[in-house]
């Protein structure tokens, strides 16, 4: 049989049982769509996190109180009990390290902000003037915290775009006095809207001087010190120098963890990459299920077309021709299902991107290719048994059946 004839024959045979064919194509397409959408979600999450961390700032080294045993970054022990306070004085001492360009201490807590009778819960970040440069952030209005003595601080606040909108609406915010906790702060600046942000979204953040935040939350310790190294190659020296300075200041004890952005990125990359793979595996199970469906549908097809198979044999078709015809049909149905599923999956991913513009839900190429290939392969693999059964039918008995 010629290839175009084979394809037409298989197509007509599939078209002859639209319900059966439709169900099969649907099952296969759901499997492939699941692979595409789930991996788009998984890989989207990975890219999203990567983006977020990259946007933290460049050549960033992060110091956190408490010792992490593994040395690598582990979200589980990122928050550990602190044996010794990591203080503003420690932060200032780090400026002596030659590989450090600038740094900003960070104190974090939640409080309430109120203005003109409006009140809301906010995340408060206590830091210094350097913070905006270390994190490469942008201002929308006014100015950032003033330079000055890190141990004191003026009662000034820089607020996030969202806070501004909620508290002030269309009124001007600059120069107004707001109450944060039980203190009054003057609003000196508004951060540019970022639309996204991991952990600490500046849109809903209120930034005040570190010393005032420490007083507000009644603590001496810092949440983090964000250090910017002098260059990419200075990251490792900066890490060593920071550890050494803190060790000397803390009586020889290594009670802080120094991590680099690269380490964080690598860990998240690995973690979320594995997640995507796992999700793809789960989705692939639905493809296997679709494969079993292909087999059953084709077996039913063989049974229902027994007389036709007998006829084809009587008309001179060899067992090989009949096998090929049934395999071609299984392959075509799988291919149609795979392509439909690919379209559905891409559409689904596009809808997710539409709904959550910040979330890069693009299915990775490897997942798409693997999904399509698995669909075709399972379709053909599970088509072999029915095709062989068809080819082995005894023509006399097949013909006598109607």
């Amino acid at each position: 049989m010629r290839l175009p004839d084979l394809i037409r024959f298989a197509r007509d045979a599939a078209g002859g049982a639209p319900l059966r064919t439709g169900l099969l194509v649907l099952a296969m397409s759901i499997g492939v769509a699941a692979v595409v959408i789930l991996t788009a979600l998984g890989d989207g999450a990975r890219r999203y996190v990567m983006n977020e961390f990259s946007s933290l700032g460049s050549n960033l080294v992060i110091v956190l109180p408490g010792r992490s045993q593994t040395g690598g970054f582990n979200p589980g022990n990122a928050v550990t009990s602190t044996p010794r306070d990591l203080t503003i004085a420690d932060a200032q001492a780090l400026l002596r390290a030659p590989a450090v360009r600038r740094l900003a201490p960070l104190v974090v807590g939640t409080s309430e902000i109120s203005f003109g009778g409006r009140l809301r819960q906010v995340m408060v970040a206590g830091t210094t003037a350097e913070y905006i440069e270390v994190r490469s952030l942008k201002l929308a209005q006014g100015r950032f915290l003033a330079h000055g003595d890190w141990g004191r601080g003026v009662a000034e606040a820089v607020i996030g775009a969202r806070i501004r909108d909620e508290l002030f609406g269309v009124e001007p915010a600059l120069g107004r006095l707001v109450r944060i906790g039980d203190r009054r702060f003057r609003v000196v600046g508004v951060m540019a809207a970022s639309g996204q942000g991991l952990g600490m979204n500046t849109d809903e953040l209120v930034i005040v001087p570190a010393a005032l935040a420490q007083a507000m939350f009644n603590t001496n310790t810092l949440f983090r010190i964000l250090v910017e190294a002098t260059g990419r190659e200075a990251i490792e020296p900066a890490k060593r120098q920071i550890a050494e300075i803190v060790r000397l200041r803390h009586d020889g004890e290594e009670d802080v963890t120094v991590i680099t952005q690269d380490a964080v990125l690598a860990t998240f990359d690995r973690l979320l990459g594995t997640l995507t793979l796992g999700v793809a595996g789960i989705a692939a199970i639905s493809l296997a299920v679709a494969g079993i469906l292909v087999m059953n549908v084709m077996l039913v097809s063989v049974t229902q077309r027994t007389a036709e198979i007998g006829l084809l044999k009587a008309l001179g078709a060899s067992a090989g021709t009949i096998r090929t015809a049934f395999l071609a049909e299984a392959a075509m149905l799988s291919l149609a299902g795979a392509l439909l599923g690919y379209g559905l999956g891409q559409a689904g991913a596009a809808i997710i991107r539409q709904l959550y513009p910040a979330f890069p839900a693009w299915p990775p190429d490897w997942a798409v290719i693997a999904g399509l290939a698995t669909a075709l392969l399972t379709g053909i693999l599970f088509g072999v048994l029915p095709a062989r059964r068809a080819a082995r039918l005894d023509p006399v008995q097949a013909l006598s059946r109607r």
């Binding site: 007509d12 036709e308 008309l315």
Partner: protein, 233 residues
């Protein structure tokens, strides 16, 4: 028996066919010897269950005998592999069935073309031969109709066109008029006889004595044995 100058087209010698159903055995064919020359018109008759269809299936290489040899055009075809037998069916044998056996989803033209499609004949050649066949069998304006849109007689004409499209040496027909009324049946028989007149060997299984009587040679089966052969009477 007249001495045949050349070897017969079909030569069956000592053919046995036994069906085993559990413990019981059914001798569908017992020591059947038949020679049929090229161009003959043979009717196979006999009561129900006498082995007529079994014999026809063997002649059409759809079934294998348990003993005996079958030579087709001088070549022993009983020992051929399944694929080689398929080739022989494709090139030399045309079937016409009582229940037509058309593929329901294919048009009349596609049904007629099916043996050529299976054999891998080029589309242009196929189209030409199908067009000729449609004309020959008066089906020109039925080419695109599917079997369920055709009358019984038209269906059997499509089936005959399909059986002849590969220009086989032998046409095997099992009760070709069994599902047709007398007038349409006669029309179908005349078509088959025209083919025979053109040199095709025609072997028809029938219950109908009148139809059997039109053949130049009658074979009478009984309980799996060849009871009577008008050529040897």
């Amino acid at each position: 028996m007249t001495a045949a100058a050349s070897a017969p087209l079909i030569a069956l010698a000592g053919i046995e066919r036994v069906f085993r159903l559990g413990d019981s055995e059914v001798h569908a064919l017992r020591r059947v010897d038949i020679d049929i020359a090229a161009g003959e018109y043979v009717a196979i008759m006999g009561p129900s269950g006498s082995g007529k269809s079994t014999l026809l299936n063997l002649l059409g290489l759809l079934d294998r005998p348990d003993a005996g040899t079958y030579r087709l055009a001088g070549r022993d075809v009983t020992t051929l592999s399944a694929d080689e037998q398929a080739r022989v069916r494709s090139e030399r044998i045309g079937f016409v069935f009582q229940s037509f056996h058309l593929v329901p989803r294919l048009s009349a033209a596609e049904n007629i073309a099916l043996p050529m499609t299976l054999a891998g004949i080029a589309p242009a050649e196929r189209a030409a031969r199908v067009a000729q066949a449609l004309r020959d069998y008066g089906l020109e304006n039925r080419a695109d109709h599917r079997p369920d849109q055709l009358s019984g007689g038209q269906r059997q004409r499509v089936a005959i066109a399909r059986a002849t499209i590969m220009q086989p040496a032998v046409i095997l027909a099992d009760e070709p008029t069994g599902n047709l009324d007398r007038a349409t049946g006669d029309e179908v028989v005349r078509l088959l006889e025209t083919l025979n007149a053109q040199g095709v060997t025609l072997i028809v299984v029938t219950h109908d004595a009148a139809l059997g009587g039109r053949a130049r040679r009658q074979l009478r089966m009984e309980d799996g044995s060849l009871q009577h052969d008008s050529a040897r009477a």
